[in-house]
Symmetry: C2
Subunit: 121 residues, 2 copies
């Protein structure tokens, strides 16, 4: 059933199909890229940030309006906006004391759409 070279031990891990392991290892994207990808999705993995992004789909908004829309305090929203800004998912412009946030590009919308189509099955 198992061919000769398929039962090895690598760092105490049993390997059943060495050929598959070798092939997949070669084909996998580099570590750093996968890390960055996980970091990006982590941003979307929080209800508050999802809500902020959804709100910005509809309209450019200032911080206190976002807070009012979500029923959260200004500080919490501001902290999350900083994270969204760092990931280049939102951009902002300042008009006097008021800072207006909007979506940086339409990647966000595309990613959301794919997400929605998965959960709606």
């Amino acid at each position: 059933m198992k061919d000769d070279k398929s039962n090895n031990d690598v760092c105490e891990i049993t390997v059943i199909h060495q050929d598959v392991v070798d092939k997949v290892k070669k084909l996998m994207p580099e570590e750093e890229k996968l890390y960055d990808l996980a970091e990006l999705f982590k941003i979307f993995g929080d209800t508050t940030r999802i809500k902020i992004l959804c709100a910005l789909f509809e309209s450019e908004m200032c911080v206190c309006d976002i807070a009012a829309t979500l029923g959260m305090n200004q500080s919490a929203v501001s902290h999350q906006l900083r994270i969204l800004k760092q990931s280049k998912l939102v951009k902002h412009r300042k008009e006097g004391k008021v800072v207006y946030y909007s979506l940086a590009d339409d990647h966000v919308i595309k990613i959301f759409d794919q997400g929605f189509s998965h959960i709606e099955e």
Copy 2:
């Protein structure tokens, strides 16, 4: 600069543009849907799970082969596979003692592609 009805207080939150807040509140998807979406993206927000999914892009694999490919122990991989299974991102078939995992559908690939195209800018 500010029109009359635009300076209210709702639950101690200052609102500058009541019209925008009202409009966006109406257009936002329902709470539960946004929660589910965040839950889905949370799954992708972990390097181990990203790696598992990437590995499964290339080939159906059993648990110990995945563990060997990622250089992780069997238990950690198994825990993560359970999460991926629960979210219907992977499916599995059993062949004797060995359980083979593969991608459930191609939503994952599409979501990944969008993610990659965002970080590669």
